[in-house]
């Protein structure tokens, strides 16, 4: 049976920061996106090339979707960077997690847990970032905090806080408290939704590949490509909706 670990495995340590295989993976994602954007967006021309045309098509499509939520093109362009970064970060790390070698290249660690009874356990070098709760929780906290910052920036601190703490009427007061609790629930649902999906996908792939190494994992791989896209989209779209609620005056 393949060993399945919920937490990410530590590879080494830099200045007290434990570098796990998922953290390494997110650095790789950043590196890939940096190189890609340097190569693709450096040579932009007013008459687009084939590649540029495709990219602009996607950007336009994304902006249109955001426009559908925010209502205006101006707002959609304003909040596009945050939403698109969340989307790309999650999407690329999910898809990289499916690549061959991501779960299979690694080393055997001598320091096995007490459960394995001193057995040497396999530690992969790379692991899909979102299969670590640290990644999804960090992203969820960042997203929710950003939502509140943007809300304050758009309608002012007093108005934004009055959405949660108000003494206008007892009903509003309790609704505000519930809203506040739901903000914390948002972080948890954000992080566990993404983590659960990606981690389950990883486990699913490991198990199917272990049971039947050939052909059978292929549909599951396709499913994981789809799930990876959907989860990235869900995370990005939920953030969009939360931003649009936070920057609106009435609640």
């Amino acid at each position: 049976m393949p060993h399945i670990e919920i937490g990410a495995e530590k590879l080494f340590e830099i200045f007290g920061l434990p570098v796990t295989n998922t953290l390494l993976m997110s650095w790789i994602v950043i590196g890939i996106l940096l190189i890609a954007s340097l190569f693709i967006f450096r040579r932009m021309s007013i008459v687009p090339s084939f590649l540029q045309n495709i990219l602009e098509f996607f950007v336009e499509g994304f902006l249109k979707v955001l426009e559908g939520v925010f209502g205006t093109r101006e707002k959609s362009e304003k909040y596009f960077p945050i939403v698109a970064t969340i989307f790309l970060f999650v999407l690329i790390s999910n898809w990289l997690g499916i690549l061959p070698g991501v779960g299979s290249l690694g080393f055997f660690s001598a320091e096995g847990g007490s459960a394995s009874g001193g057995e040497r356990i396999f530690v992969p070098f790379f692991r899909s970032s979102a299969s670590d709760l640290n990644f999804t929780l960090a992203l969820a906290i960042v997203a929710v905090v950003l939502v509140h910052i943007l809300g304050v920036a758009a309608i002012g601190a007093g108005k934004h806080i009055s959405k949660f703490f108000t003494f206008k009427s007892p009903i509003d007061f309790f609704v505000g408290i519930l809203e506040f609790i739901s903000e914390i629930a948002k972080m948890i649902s954000f992080s566990f939704r993404l983590f659960g999906n990606v981690f389950a996908g990883e486990v699913l792939l490991v198990i199917t590949a272990f049971l039947v190494p050939y052909l059978i994992p292929v549909p599951f791989l396709m499913l994981e490509i789809f799930v990876g896209f959907i989860q990235a989209l869900v995370f990005a779209m939920l953030t969009t909706v939360f931003i649009s609620i936070a920057i609106s005056h009435n609640h």
Binding site: G7, M44, F80, I141
Partner: protein
């Protein structure tokens, strides 16, 4: 709770690292991807709008120019016609004037010539008389020279008397 956190491997250092990762990525993409793309999209939109506006304006201008040209041509044609008509009128008037002038001039020239001829004729007549007088005198002198003095005197007296008689009358 702490057991749960430990099971999931949640570590505040890793949380912070991943959050920092997100902001690094946001910065990178904003600088190298979103910025250029947005700028390009906006620029292209402006260019296209400018182009369309320019085309529309050019079309309108062309239409206006064509209209103006038509009008100018029409005006010019009308003007040309009036000019030609006027010229015809003046030409006719001038022709009449010239013809009458010429006739007058011709007449005056003929008159002058006639007068001249008259004068010349008169002058010539006088000259003829003057010449004739000399000739006659010399002729008479020669004839008288052959006559005897008596006869001559007689003759002269006779003549003088007849002259007197006519003068007395």
């Amino acid at each position: 709770m702490s057991e749960l956190i430990k099971n999931f491997g949640v570590d505040w250092k890793l949380l912070l690292a991943q959050a920092v990762n997100f902001f690094i990525l946001l910065f990178i993409l904003k600088k190298f991807a979103y910025g250029p793309v947005m700028k390009m999209l906006r620029k292209r939109k402006e260019e296209i709008e400018k182009g369309l506006k320019f085309t529309k304006e050019a079309g309108e201008k062309l239409g206006r120019i064509n209209e103006e040209r038509e009008e100018v041509l029409k005006d010019a044609r009308g003007e040309a016609l009036t000019i030609v008509r006027e010229a015809e009128g003046t030409a006719k008037v001038r022709k009449d004037e010239i013809v009458t002038d010429a006739a007058k001039k011709g007449e005056s020239i003929i008159m002058e010539a006639k007068r001249h001829i008259e004068e010349e004729k008169a002058k010539m007549g006088e000259e003829v008389y003057r010449d004739a007088e000399g000739l006659i005198r010399s002729g008479i002198a020669r004839v008288l020279g052959k006559m005897s003095a008596e006869e001559r005197d007689k003759e002269l007296i006779k003549e003088a008397l007849s002259e007197l008689k006519t003068a007395a009358k």
